[in-house]
Amino acid sequence: MTASPAPTTFFREIARNRRNSWILIFVVAIVLAALGGAIGGATGYGWGGVVLALVVAFFMSIGSYFAGDQLVLISSGAKEIPQQQPPDQYRQLLNVVTEMSLASGLPMPKVYVINDTAPNAFATGRDPKHASVAVTSGLLEKMDREQLQGVIGHELSHVGNYDIRFSLLVGVLVGSIALLADWFLRFTFWGGGRRDSDNDRGGGGGAAAILFIVALVLAVIAPLIGRMVQLAVSRSRESLADVSAVELTRNPVGLARALRTIADDPEVLEVANRATQHLYIVNPIKSFETRSKSMWDTHPPISERIAVLRGLAGQFGQDPGHIG
């Protein structure tokens, strides 16, 4: 077992995570600018390429922004629970969501259940007024009230922190990088070469050639860097959601126990795939989760998440030993 980190206040953790994610966005923007500048200089198109890439990436994401939540809910086979006359078995779930909604001051989201024995949950929706939270039937069965509260707290925190919007923002930036790099590489290898050898633009041939090489290198590595940063942002927002959940429940042990239960469960969530993995509270693709610290993960390793919660437990007079 890892040793507990020094007890910390959750306000500081929250601030740290927010700061980190914005720094990362800044990094992506710089990468995009560098790539755009190099390509623009090398091809003579200037900033037109970057602008076009941003516009295209933006329009590609617009659908996701408005209809993404419906798509995800439908593709996971989620069924909405009527909040007026809920079936008895879901009363507790709705009560817990109501509790977290009160604690956060957010409007009550729509609540869905996915019929799957693997315990997991996700939240989606472009803003708090259009939010949905989904849990699997497996999660409802395997968790007690305290754990469920932690999970719902985490999911509602994603909504309250506008994480869906945040990921779309990152997605647009990273998508632009990918588009721009792709266009440039095609342009270079399939017919753009002649243009450059005309040497009409820019300074002497030497400078243009160097710029071209720089652009080429960037076009290859920028999408990789972009993807890595995107995953780092995702991990940062997941940590933020964990600590924000504690701000709501004031019960770090509850969420920690929930994470432990999900991690120990051998079941595989059948409806999840690479496209939706980042939305769930714990990465549902088992092979990803068992790897220790990796920069290709959408979520921090569970042991690390539990360690952070352990560090907060002392603040609330809780015994971290209960986590298991």
Partner: protein, 203 residues
């Protein structure tokens, strides 16, 4: 540019800043008021649930009439304390706390009645009461967050200037007195607190 224009521009910018800050303070204050109302809503919910609970268990718990009566009386005291409004907040908090203790005692007794324990109605009511307790707690917690936010705005520069100018006052946190913070293990033979502020109920 002539000086008069510069002065005008500066004045406009300052005015815009004042409006912006003022609106922010108003918004935060309204959030505080709303959060306070939310607490009252949750308390009322609990008061409304209790008669149902008592009715559900009445038939089974013939020997516990005294307990049931105490619960009803504690509820009554809480309802009248709440009707005093924000002025009676301290008494209300105390009455609610006493009611919480009485309910816990009642549910402890339910453990002795296997028929009752398995009764769907009772289980549901138990869940409803649990969630109501939680919702009250979270409503209070959220209220305190909004107060913190509002008070911080009032205290920090530059909003502190605007706040002073327009008379925005700090709000009080919802606090439970030390003695009440630990829910008393109520002996249901005690009387629930009367309207006048009493000492903490004896154990």
């Amino acid at each position: 540019m002539e000086p008069i224009w510069i002065v005008l521009i500066i004045l406009v910018v300052i005015a815009a800043g004042v409006v912006f800050i003022y609106n922010g303070l108003v918004q935060r204050r309204n959030v505080v008021d709303e959060a306070w109302n939310q607490i009252s809503v949750q308390l009322k919910r609990r008061h409304d649930l209790i008669p149902n609970l008592v009715n559900a268990v009445k038939g089974y718990m013939d020997f516990e009439q005294e307990t049931l009566t105490k619960v009803i009386e504690a509820r009554g005291a809480a309802v009248s304390a709440q009707s005093a409004g924000p002025a009676g907040a301290a008494q209300s908090a105390q009455a609610e706390n006493f009611l919480t203790g009485a309910l816990r005692q009642l549910f402890a007794l339910v453990e002795n009645y296997p028929d009752l324990k398995a009764n769907q109605n009772v289980l549901q009511l138990q869940e409803e009461l649990t969630t109501t307790e939680n919702q009250i707690g979270f409503a209070r917690q959220h209220y305190n967050s909004t107060v913190r936010d509002f008070n911080t705005s009032i205290q920090t520069f530059p909003s502190v200037l605007i706040a002073g100018m327009f008379g925005f006052k700090e709000r009080d946190y919802f606090q439970i007195e030390e003695a009440d913070a630990v829910v008393p293990t109520v002996n249901l033979r005690d009387e629930p607190p009367q309207a006048a502020p009493p000492a903490a109920p004896s154990a």
